[in-house]
């Protein structure tokens, strides 16, 4: 591992940024918020791809592939259902 101090710095700033940005999200949208943040944190897929592609052992390739499946499920499912939910939120005037 390199640069523990830099990583802690980034972690801390991202957490504060997250707290500030997310505090502004209307309670109306808390369910889509949760599914969107879940989809975003499924960026873990790049780590899973890394483990799979480096293929240091059959064991880690298998675990990596399983992790790719799990993360990809969240990416596709998470973004899709978030959009499905948000499509339903309409103002009275928007009604067709």
């Amino acid at each position: 591992m390199t640069d523990l101090d830099a990583k802690l710095f980034v972690f801390l700033l991202s957490t504060f940024l997250g707290l500030e940005v997310i505090r502004r999200v209307s309670p109306l949208l808390h369910t889509p918020l949760m599914s969107l943040t879940n989809a975003i944190s499924a960026i873990a897929v790049v780590a899973a791809i890394q483990v799979t592609a480096e293929g240091h052992s059959t064991f880690s390739t298998v675990l990596g592939t399983l992790a790719v499946i799990a993360a990809m499920t969240n990416i596709v499912g998470g973004f899709w259902i978030t959009d499905r939910m948000l499509k339903m939120f309409r103002r009275g005037g928007d009604r067709s």
């Binding site: 591992m1 390199t2 640069d3 990583k7 972690f11 991202s14 997250g18 707290l19 940005v21 997310i22 502004r24 999200v25 209307s26 309670p27 109306l28 949208l29 808390h30 369910t31 889509p32 918020l33 949760m34 599914s35 969107l36 943040t37 879940n38 989809a39 944190s41 499924a42 960026i43 873990a44 897929v45 790049v46 780590a47 899973a48 791809i49 799979t52 592609a53 480096e54 240091h56 052992s57 059959t58 675990l63 990596g64 592939t65 992790a67 499946i69 799990a70 993360a71 990809m72 499920t73 969240n74 990416i75 499912g77 899709w80 259902i81 499905r84 948000l86 939120f89 309409r90 009275g92």
Partner: protein
């Protein structure tokens, strides 16, 4: 290391590129991750308002694609095992898409719990693979090992914990299951032993036989932690699991030198944390109380004392007459509305009332339903405009000017005992003051208590009428009765 990476010269190239994870990776990977991180932040920023929210989803999607393409490019042509990643991505898409397309909106809490389980599983698997690839090498020094151990601990406990939450929400496990005797002692022993394993591995990173023990203990702790929690505490538990899943993804970024993961995980973690705090405040309880406390309803007056002879019941016709010519109606939905799938029938009623000149608004308690924002999604699905959905603080002062408040499937969040009885399990919980309305109509199948297990004096109040019926049927009957009377 085996020869998964084929040609020797390319192997050396990738070794130098990925030797310290992504930190020394090609420039385009760095750029793609930077762009993705920026887009993720924008994505959450745009989610703050319903008007820009869908743009937020687009930003997140683009960021995701950019980062994945960058990563794949780095390994393309030099890795013989990359094909398994492609197979995994195809399979994941095949599982994820149906879960998004055909999932009914009432099942969103279950789906969310399941997605936390998948996210945590990915973190635990990657951590485990990384450990067995590198234990004993300089890549797993003591500090990296400590972080890796916590990543796997959090990932594993969140995996089983979320699976239990999913099973409870899907009613595969009864929601009101009692914990074991000495549940807290068992939980603390499991957590303590798991943390002990983390310390052990930090001191002796090469003791690979401890690693499976850590995983098993963490998996068991996740089950024991969530098993006794149910019902109305679910919003807090789901938020907390969300936070853990994000944190474990962030820690994975520490271990793999991947700053994008640190950022995205931290955003997810802070979102879960905020939602947990909001849920706890909305119940006037602490994290420890939700996780380790038990509801104790024994100090409260019995149902007979509260209700004895004072409950007035009404028929659909009675309520229809009551609603004739009123100026303002507030509808208070709860989990019962979701169970009865009554949201569309509620929409019909509200449209009918509006067509007759009545102002209709909805009062949403933060913990109504089984996850944060659950009621809003269901009512939006039923095509109710979002500006009619009011938060507790905005709507409470208006009950005094409300002619009729209709409570459908909510119980504890409208229980005045929270304000009046300091000994009740819900004491101090902010509630919707429906009792201030001129008349309250409570749609409920029986007088059975809500999650807190206590009687609700609101049901016996002078200005309350009980409409004993299934939520959906009640709404349909009411609409029919109003139309008939007109």
């Amino acid at each position: 290391m085996n020869n998964a990476l084929a040609p020797a010269n390319l192997l050396a190239a990738v070794e130098s590129a990925t030797g310290a994870g992504v930190a020394n990776s090609p420039w385009y990977v760095w750029i793609s991750y930077l762009v993705a991180a920026a887009l993720f932040v924008l994505s959450l920023k745009w989610l703050s308002h319903p008007r820009s929210a869908r743009r937020g989803v687009r930003a997140g999607e683009i960021g995701m694609v950019v980062a994945i393409v960058g990563t794949l490019l780095m390994y393309f042509g030099v890795s013989t095992t990359l094909k398994y990643a492609f197979i995994g991505m195809a399979l994941g898409s095949l599982i994820g898409a149906p879960m998004a397309i055909w999932m009914p909106m009432t099942a969103v809490p279950q789906r969310t719990a399941l997605s936390h389980a998948f996210g945590a599983l990915a973190a635990a698997l990657v951590g485990t693979a990384h450990y067995y690839d590198f234990y004993g090498s300089e890549k797993l020094d003591h500090s990296t090992m400590a972080i890796l151990a916590i990543e796997v601990l959090l990932g594993s406990l969140t995996f089983t914990g979320s699976l239990v939450a999913f099973s409870k929400l899907q009613e595969l496990i009864p929601s009101k299951i009692k914990g074991l005797p000495n549940q807290n002692l068992i939980n603390f022993s499991l957590l303590g032993s798991a943390l002990g394993c983390c310390v052990w591995l930090t001191v002796f990173p090469t003791h690979f036989f401890i690693f499976p023990l850590l995983i098993v203990l963490a998996l068991a702790f996740g089950i024991c932690l969530v098993m006794p929690i149910g019902g109305a505490d679910m919003p807090t538990v789901i938020s907390l699991l969300n936070s853990y899943a994000g944190l474990s993804a962030s820690l994975m970024g520490f271990v793999l030198d991947n700053f994008l993961l640190i950022v995205a995980g931290a955003l997810d973690g802070s979102s879960g944390l905020i939602l947990s705090i909001i849920m706890c405040k909305a119940m006037n309880r602490s994290f420890t109380n939700v996780l380790f406390g038990r509801m104790d309803a024994s100090t409260v007056a019995s149902a007979d004392e509260v209700y004895g002879g004072k409950v007035k019941s009404a028929t659909a016709e009675d309520v229809a007459m009551l609603l004739d010519g009123v100026r303002r109606v507030v509808i208070v939905p709860g989990y019962g509305m979701a169970v009865a799938q009554a949201q569309h029938a509620v929409r019909e009623l509200s449209q009918l009332l509006e067509s007759r000149g009545t102002e209709v608004e909805f009062a949403i308690h933060p913990v109504a339903g089984r996850m944060p924002g659950h009621m809003n999604v269901l009512l939006a699905e039923a095509d109710i405009p979002y500006e009619k959905l009011k938060e507790m603080d905005a709507i409470n002062p208006t009950f005094a000017q409300t002619d009729v408040a209709i409570v459908i499937g909510a119980n504890d969040v409208v229980n005045p005992l929270a304000n009046t009885d300091p000994k009740s399990p819900i004491a101090g919980m902010p509630i919707l003051n429906v009792g201030d309305a001129r008349t309250v109509v409570v749609v409920k199948r029986s007088l059975s208590p809500g999650f807190a297990g206590i009687p609700n004096p609101l049901f016996a109040a002078d200005n309350t009428l009980m409409f004993f019926e299934d939520g959906k049927k009640a709404m349909v009957d009411l609409v029919a009765a109003i139309k008939e009377a007109a």
